[in-house]
Symmetry: C5
Subunit: 265 residues, 5 copies
C-alpha cells in the first residue's frame, strides 16, 4: 500500500476519476448521446476541470491525446479491458504493460479490472499480481475495478457481493477499490469497512438524472467512500462542467446533493 | 502513437498498402485468376508502382523476395496470419517477431490482425500489446487489421461493428486501422470519427468491377479515410498498373472514381 | 528442508499460526460474528499474543497493516488464495511472488495451498515448486495448506486422505503441513508419521465450542502434531485472548484441554 | 531465406534426405521388414551413401549415434515429432531446441512439422516461428514437413491441399518444403510454383515397388521438385544401396526411372 | 547421450535403482505392509545396500533425508510425479527443477516420467526436453520412466507397447529407459533392441513372490536389460536385505534366480 494521499490521484483525501474507456468496453454507441464526445479531445477538455483528479483511458487513447493534456490532467492508465463483442466468461485483456504506462505514457496511476466469480478470476488475479508488484516499483497507485461477475454470481450488486468486492481489493493489494454502489448507505459503509485502508470509490454507472446521481454520491461519501469514478454520467450530459461543479461540492466539500445542485444551477 | 506522416508508409497523409498474404490466408487459389501472380515477384513488380506506399507480406515472402525490391518498395511486415485450413474460432498465429521484422527483414511498418468478438480476442489483444510496445522501440508504425469476427458477431460489416473496429484500433494503440467498407459514406465517416487520430484505411476485399471498386474508395476518402489496403482488387486484374493509376488519382489527388477511370482508360 | 526450529515461525518446536485470509477466501461474512474483526487491526492486535508464532495474511493486508506490527508479529505471507465466488474446480491464484513477500513485505515464512485431487493439482504443484525453490533462496520456511479437494475426492478428511495430504507436503518439499484434523488421535498420528520430518499442524476449521476445540488440539499435539493454524476459532470469539491463553497451554506446555480451560477461566 | 545451395543439405541444387524418425513417429514396427534396421547404426551406414545429402533423426538418436558418423553424414535435426500413441488432434512435441541442435548435436540443417488445418495449427506455427528465427541465428537451413491434417481436412493429398502446403512453407519462412506427392506432375508443378523460392521435396511415403516409386520421384523432379525425403522406401528394402543408386540417377542426374533402374540392376 | 558407465548410477554396466516415491504416487498405503517404511530413513537404510546404485526420491524427501545419506547412497532425483488423487488423463507435475536437483540436492542422476499415449504426452515430452537439455549442462544421466498410458492405450504392457516405450526413451534422449516387463524374454529383447544405446531397466512393479520376481529380473538381464528400478518388491518385504542380496547376484553376477535364491536363503 502506497501513501497515496500525496499522489496526484488524490486531493484532500478524495478521488474523482473521469473514465473514458467506453470506446473499448462498450463501443462508439456510448458517444451518441453527445456526438462530439467521440472525439477524445472533447472529453479530455472536460477532464481539465479542477474536480477531476485523474482521467482513466486505455493505452492508445493516452498515446494519441495525453501529450496535449499532460499539464492539465493526471493520467490513470487502465491496463486491461475488453470489447463487448467478447461473448466468453467475463475476462479482460491486458492491453498495456506497467513499464510502458509508467515510462512511455507518463501515467500517474494505474487501473485494473478483476471479475471475481468469473471462470477467469484466477488468471486475472495473477495478472493483477504482476501488475501490482510492478506498479510498486514505479510508486504508482493501483486502482482495482472490482466487479464480481460471471458464472458464480447471482447478483452483482447485493451488499454482500459489493463488500466482498471491496475486500478483494484490500486483500490483493489495491490502493483504491472501484465498486458499484450497493443501493444503500449501510451497504456502502459495509463495503468501506471491508476495504480497510484501501480507499473505496463508487462507479458512476449508466446515466441517471442529476439529483438521483448526486444523491448516490452523497450517500457514498457520507458512508466513508472517498469518491467516484465516472464516465457516462458526466460526458453524456449536455453540460458536463455543471455536473462536475456539483460533484466537486459533494465529494470534496461534503455538501448534500441538494446544496450542490442549488449552487450550480 | 507515432508521428507516422513522416514514415515511408504515408505519402501526403495518405496510404496505399498492396497486400499479398493471400498465399497464407486463402491459399494458392487466389492466384488462379492471373496465374503468374503465384510468383511473388510478379506482385512485387506491381508493388513498385508509385501509388503503393507499402507492400504487406508475411515473413517468408519478405525473406525470399524483399532483398531484390528494398530500393523500390516499402515493406509492411504482417506479423500474424493463419491458413484457411484452420477450422477453429477466428485466430491468427504470430508468425514473425517484431525484432526479426525490424532487424532482419528491414520492415518499414508492421501489421497485426485482431478478431474482436472471437473467443480468441483476448489472447490476440495481448499478443498485439506485446507487438505494439515492441514496435514503439523500433519507431515502426503499427497497422491493425481490425476485423470483428467469430462467435459474438451477427454481422461483420454493419456500421456499428465497423465503427467499433476502428475505435478498437485507437484504444489499443494502432497507428492505422484497416477496416472493411461499411457500405455507405456516412457509416465510413462514423468509423473515421471513432478512430480519432488513428488513420482509417478500407480493405479492398474480393475483386469487383473497376467503377464499383473505385467508387467505394472515393467514398472512403471523402468520408475522411486515408486510403486503402488492397490485394485481389489489384493483382487479380489483367492490368494492375491501370487500376493503381486510377487509385492514385482517387486517393492522393482526391479525384472522383469517374475522373480517375476516364483518365486511365 | 530448512532447520526451521530456529526461525521465528517456531517456538520450542511448536507453531501457532493465526490466519486472517478469510476476507479473501470466504468474504466479509466471516467477520460478522465479531463485527470489529472486519478491521484487520483488530485481528493483528490479537496476533500480538505471545502464543502466536506467526500471522498468515494475503499480500494486500500485509502491505497495509504489517508495518505497524512488524515488531510484535511474525509475518507468514500466504502466497496463493481465491475468493469463494469461484465456481470452478478447486484452484488458487498466486497473488504474491516470493521475492515480493521476502523483500517488500518482510515475511518470516510463506504459505501455499495445494488441492490434491483437483483437476488443477498439477498446475498448483508446479506453482508450488517455483515458490518453494525461490523460498529456499530467501531461507524462508514454507507451509503447505495441504487440502485434498475436488473431482477426485469422496471424503476430504478420512484418515487415508489426511495422511496422504501430510505426505504430499513432505514429498514436495514443504517444511510444515497444515491439514484438517482427521477425527481421531490414531489418524492424526498416521498423518504425522507420513509427514516424516515435515511438521504437521492442524487446521482450526469453523468455530466450535471451547472444550471440543481444545480437545482436538490436545489430541493433535499428543499424536505428534506440532501445533495449529487457526482463524475463526480465535477471532470469531468474544474473548480471543482467553482462547489463545488456553491454546498456549495445550500447544506449548502440552497441558490437557481441561487443565488449560480451568486455568484460563 | 538462406542461400542454402551452399550448405551441406544441398548438392547441385538437389536434396535427398534419409529420414529415420520412424521409431518415434510410428514405433518399432516400421523396422520389422528389415529387422536389423532397429539398430540405428544400420540406417546410418545406409546414410553414408553419396546420394544422401542429410539424415533426419530426432535428438536422442543424434546424440547416441551421430558422433560416429559426423564425418560421413550430414545431420538434419528434426526438432518436433510425436508418437502414434497420441490420439488427439494432429500435433507434435518440440523435442529439441535449436540451440541444442546447433551447438550440441552439430546439426547441418533443421526440420519441423506443421499440421495445417489441425486444431493445433496456430500453436505449431508459433513454435515454428521461434525455431525458424533461432535457426537464422545459426545460419541453418529449415525444412518444413508441411502436412495438412486434422479436423479441417477432407483430403490431405489433393492438388490444392499440396499446393497450399508448399505455399505455407514459403509464407512462414522455410527454406525447403517437404510435401506428399499430389498424384500427377501437373499438381506437383503447381506446388512447386506455389512455393516460389522455397525448394520442394516430396515425401517418400510407405514402401512401394521400385519402379512406381522411382517414377514418382522422376515426375517430381521433372515438375521442378528438388528432391526427396525418404525413409521406409529405402531402409525397408533388402538392398537400400541399390535404390539409392537409382535415386541418385533420377534426382541428381535427372534420368528417367527406367534408365535408373536399368543402370542399377 | 552421456558416457554414463562412469557415473555413480552404473556399476559394471548395470543399474539397480531403489525407488521410494510411493508416498507421492500411491500414498501412505504403500507403506502399510511394513509400517516402519513410512519413515523414509528406514528405506534409506535399505538403500545403503551395495547392490543399490541409486535411490529415486522426490525433492522434499531428498531435502529432508539425503544429507544424512549422501556418503552412502547415490541420489536419483525424480523430477516429476503426481498423486493418485488426480483423476485426469495421465500427467505428472514437474516438482523439481534440474538446477535445484543438481545444485541444492546434490543429485547424481535424474528421473522423468513420460506417459506416451496420454492426452498430455506432448506437454510432457516438451517438459522432458527442457529437463534433458538442462541435465546435459550438469552432466547428469537422465532416466525416463517410459510408461505408455491413457486414452490411446488398449494394453500398457503388450510387447509392441513396451518396445515402443523403450524406443521413445532413445529417440527423445534418455540415457536409461525404465519400462514394465513385457511378459517374455523375447519381448524384453525387442525392447532392448529398440532402445539401442539407451540402457533398459525393468520396473519392479507390485510385490510378487521371491522366485517369480527374481525370475523376471533374470529374464530381463539375459534379454540384454541392464537392471531394475524397484520399490515395493524390496521395501514391502520383511527382509529387504535378503532380496537385495539375491538381486545383486542376478543383476551384477548374472546368476539365475534359483542360484541367487539358494545363495541368500
Amino acid at each position: 500500500m502506497l501513501p497515496i494521499d500525496d499522489t496526484p490521484l488524490v486531493r484532500d483525501g478524495k478521488i474523482l476519476i473521469l473514465a473514458m474507456d467506453h470506446g473499448l468496453e462498450h463501443g462508439p454507441v456510448d458517444f451518441e448521446p453527445v456526438p462530439e464526445t467521440i472525439d477524445p479531445e472533447t472529453v479530455f477538455e472536460v477532464g481539465t476541470h479542477d474536480a477531476v483528479t485523474a482521467m482513466a483511458v486505455q493505452k492508445g487513447v493516452a498515446e494519441a491525446y495525453y501529450p496535449s493534456y499532460e499539464d492539465d490532467v493526471n493520467l490513470l492508465a487502465k491496463l486491461n479491458g475488453t470489447s463487448n463483442l467478447w461473448r466468453g466468461e467475463p475476462d479482460s485483456a491486458v492491453n498495456c504493460s506497467v513499464d510502458y504506462a509508467a515510462e512511455e505514457l507518463g501515467a500517474d496511476a494505474l487501473g485494473f479490472t478483476l471479475y471475481g466469480g468469473s471462470n477467469n478470476e484466477i488468471e486475472m488475479a495473477e495478472e493483477f499480481r504482476d501488475a501490482q508488484e510492478k506498479a510498486r516499483e514505479h510508486d504508482l497507485p493501483m486502482v482495482m475495478w472490482s466487479y464480481p461477475r460471471g458464472q458464480g454470481l447471482r447478483s452483482d450488486r447485493d451488499p454482500e457481493t459489493i463488500a466482498y468486492a471491496a475486500r478483494l481489493a484490500l486483500e490483493l493489494g489495491a490502493d483504491v477499490a472501484k465498486v458499484k454502489y450497493p443501493g444503500t448507505p449501510e451497504a456502502m459503509e459495509w463495503a468501506v469497512d471491508a476495504a480497510g485502508k484501501t480507499k473505496v470509490v463508487m462507479s458512476g454507472g449508466s446515466k441517471s438524472d442529476d439529483y438521483a446521481f448526486l444523491k448516490q454520491v452523497e450517500e457514498c461519501i457520507s458512508a466513508g467512500g472517498k469518491g467516484l469514478a465516472v464516465g457516462r454520467n458526466v460526458f453524456q450530459r449536455d453540460n458536463p462542467v455543471q455536473i462536475l461543479d456539483a460533484l466537486e461540492k459533494v465529494i470534496f466539500e461534503e455538501q448534500s446533493a441538494e446544496q450542490a445542485l442549488d449552487a450550480v444551477q
